[in-house]
């Protein structure tokens, strides 16, 4: 067990060793400073700018940024709907998989353009290779979109009065070509040399040693897995995601894939530090996020290593911890570490089945998504944290009797209103959704028996998890839930839509409104936002707004289950 814990520590250290230089590299990319990849990628970027006729120097105001973002996302939705509902006759379908029904395509299209990757289908039987490659496209560009909009907010936070800053299209193209593309290639090549398949042939048939005839699904997996990990997408090529031995064949690939989950979200905070020239602020944000991450991660590892108390009662040994739904080659600690990495960021890929986690671990994964800002999704994780900063600035301002200011800009009623709405949206979507689903189920449990794979408290947790995952744009699931029904497809689709775009619109509007205000230089009376005291304040706001509002629901699910053993 010691070497397994060591593996987890190593993953965490490697993560920081990679994220710090990556953050600096990204800051250079977005500020048009030269980097060592320019030779290869400058011509590519120039070609794209030329063909698409993007005027690189033209800056946009916050409304134009949002219009650009929303328009391109609408365009993606329409294309995704078309491909998903017509896969059966389109090319690259060696396994003869069917097209999706309308409601499933609605859910899947939204799921992938919103960077959620909630999957109400299984990759082996639910999509063709063209479908997979189309989904892979959204994995790149939805992540690129998230990074671009976070960088827009970074630029808006600079110490000057400005109404227009940066060009959304330029940031978007650079996010995709300079960050996601090279990193994905590196990860994909590592996977290839560790036996992850990359082929366009359909299913293979083999005869096992015991004489069984087995069909083996394959496909262009390596490229897909690389970007789904890096872009906080998380949609698996196969049903069981990175628990599948062809997506994640050994402990080394597991290390690479785990680091890839958190790498860009973490590096983006450092990027902010470089762009604003406020390294201390970046580190204090990273500090709060890391403490939150540890608070979820350490107890989860302990719970999973300890094993399932109900199994212990049967009198067998649990030398490797709770193993239901886990793969031996990763072991309980690395599976628990992945579970928290994937839920605190909005990734949602899994290397163990979350439905089978022990009760409290299940709760910590839920909490990770409920907060959704301990590192968070690519780009949007920072935007969520930004909302908590605004709230904390306002509350601290009231407490010490000073005008609430953040980075030299006054926060007034308008910004506060937006921040409050966005902060409350997440609990509202999750709790309302779960309440409706529970109501429907409770009034006719026989008609909806196929919904829940588990009875009692755990069944409630399955529904709560599905809405939490949708609203956090996470995409993992308590997959026992029978979710490919019109109710779940449509309900989760709507939640994902609202939970993606409103929390982007809100912070961009706040940042835009603050950017246009007069810059007030720091004085002795300014509330410092990069101190431990202020960090504690932000943490308190997160704990109160995000965690406590969900406490009653958690009591009905995982906490009740824990005490029932």
């Amino acid at each position: 067990m010691f070497s397994e814990i060591l593996g987890v520590v190593l993953m965490f250290i490697l993560l920081f060793l990679l994220a710090i230089p990556l953050g600096k590299y990204m800051a250079k990319v977005f500020q048009f400073q030269s980097t060592w990849l320019d030779k290869i990628f400058n011509p590519l970027d120039q070609l794209i700018f030329k063909i698409a006729r993007i005027r690189v120097k033209e800056e946009m105001n916050w409304k134009q940024h949002l219009t650009a973002l929303l328009t391109i996302n609408l365009c993606w939705f329409l294309i995704a709907m078309f491909v998903l509902t017509n896969m059966s006759w389109l090319p690259l379908n060696p396994d003869g998989n069917p097209s999706m029904t309308g409601d499933l395509a609605f859910n899947t299209a939204i799921s992938f353009i919103t960077n959620t990757n909630l999957q109400h289908y299984s990759g082996e039987t639910g999509v063709s290779y063209l479908g997979q490659l189309t989904l892979q496209l959204w994995q790149f560009i939805s992540a690129g979109c998230g990074i671009a909009i976070a960088v827009v907010v970074f630029f808006a936070m600079r110490e000057k009065t400005q109404t227009s800053y940066a060009n959304f299209y330029v940031l978007f193209v650079k996010s995709c070509t300079r960050i996601l593309l090279p990193l994905s290639l590196v990860v994909a090549v590592i996977l290839l040399f560790n036996h992850v398949p990359m082929t366009f042939q359909g299913k293979d048939t083999m005869i096992g040693l015991q004489g069984d005839t087995v069909q083996v699904s394959r496909g262009p997996v390596a490229g897909f897995v690389a970007i789904k990990q890096l872009g906080t997408n998380g949609g698996g090529f196969f049903g069981p995601n990175s628990a599948h031995p062809l997506e994640n064949p050994n402990y080394l690939t597991n290390i690479v894939e785990t680091i890839a989950i958190v790498l860009i979200p973490l590096a983006l905070i450092f990027t902010m530090g470089h762009i604003l020239n406020r390294r201390k602020l970046a580190w204090s944000i990273v500090g709060v996020m890391t403490i939150g991450f540890f608070l979820l991660c350490i107890p989860t590892i302990l719970q999973e290593v300890k094993g399932n108390a109900a199994i212990a009662k049967m009198g067998i040994a649990q030398p490797h911890g709770s193993m239901e739904g886990k793969e031996l080659r990763f072991g309980a600690p690395a599976s628990a570490y992945w579970a928290i990495s994937t839920t605190t960021t909005s990734n949602g890929s899994v290397n163990a089945m979350h439905d089978s986690l022990t009760p409290l671990s299940g709760m910590f994964t839920l909490l990770g998504m409920m907060v959704n800002a301990f590192y968070g999704g690519v780009g949007v994780g920072f935007l969520n944290y930004y909302i908590f900063i605004i709230l904390a600035v306002f509350i601290s301002g009231l407490m010490v009797g000073r005008t609430p200011e953040f980075l030299g800009k006054k926060i007034e009623a308008r910004e506060m209103k937006i921040a409050m709405i966005i902060a409350l949206l997440h609990p509202f979507l999750i709790l309302t959704g779960t309440a409706i689903a529970s109501h429907v189920y409770a009034h006719n449990p026989t008609a909806y028996a196929a919904w829940l794979n588990n009875p009692g408290y755990h069944g409630f947790s399955e529904m709560l998890y599905e809405f939490t995952s949708s609203s956090a744009n996470n995409g993992s699931g308590f997959e026992g839930l029978g979710d490919n029904t019109p109710f779940w497809n449509i309900a989760c689709g709507i939640v994902m839509l609202l939970a993606r775009y409103l929390p982007i619109i809100g912070p961009v509007a706040i940042a835009g409104s603050l950017a246009a205000k007069k810059y007030i230089p720091e004085s002795a009376g300014t509330l410092k936002t990069d101190t431990p005291t202020f960090s504690l304040m932000v943490f308190a706001v997160i704990a109160i707004v995000a965690a406590l509002s969900f406490f009653p629901a958690l009591t009905l699910g995982p906490i009740a289950e824990y005490f029932s053993i």
Binding site: G7, S184, M206, L209, A243, N250, M314, P455
Partner: protein, 184 residues
């Protein structure tokens, strides 16, 4: 707005060329240079080609058993059981597996059974078993195959995989192929 829409269409088209075609093509080309040519790792044993990393059904007494699978080792529809830790049906299924293990290993005490031997893996295709799960099966396999305890233990040792960090595991496909090769 209209201008943004044209831009969106153009950028999406370019992205499709770049990230669905060019990226995928590049990775596919690199795959052709790898030892398994992008086909995943396959090994041939006694004329049968199997995937080293895809767990198969092994439940006869002359083989080391693989971990239970919620989908009966269906490599074209992999999945875990998604059973919650307190689900009574699930606990009954685990109990039934414990009883089966005990019936086939009369020499075994219940406390010696490791939980990974009676719980379903995440993918339903876990190609590994733990050292503990292998150890409890050595005597059964040795007796059934008329081999010595030491000879079978040596094969178990030979099938071990690990990287120094992380768990050390036994590849049950490798182990059972080694057994089959010894037989011939």
């Amino acid at each position: 707005m209209k201008q943004h829409f044209y831009m969106a269409l153009k950028l999406t088209g370019l992205s499709f060329l770049l990230f669905s075609c060019l990226y995928t093509g590049t990775v596919w080309l690199i795959a052709q240079a790898t030892p398994d040519k992008g086909q995943a790792e396959r090994v041939t044993v006694n004329g049968k080609t199997i995937y080293k990393n895809i767990g198969e059904r092994f439940d006869s007494d002359e083989y080391f058993w693989s971990r239970p699978s919620a989908v009966n080792y269906n490599a074209a529809g992999a999945a875990g059981s998604n059973k919650g830790p307190t689900n009574p049906d699930y606990l009954a299924a685990v109990q039934a597996r414990i009883d089966t293990v005990l019936a086939h290993h009369p020499y075994l005490k219940k406390e010696a059974i490791p939980s990974d031997m009676v719980t379903a893996s995440g993918s339903g295709l876990d190609p590994h078993i733990s050292a503990e799960a292998a150890a409890v099966q050595v005597q059964r396999v040795a007796t059934k195959r008329g081999m010595s305890y030491e000879a079978v233990s040596a094969l178990v040792k030979k099938s071990e995989e690990g990287f120094g960090i992380g768990p050390r595991v036994i590849n049950v496909n490798t182990l059972n192929s080694l057994l089959d090769e010894t037989k011939n």
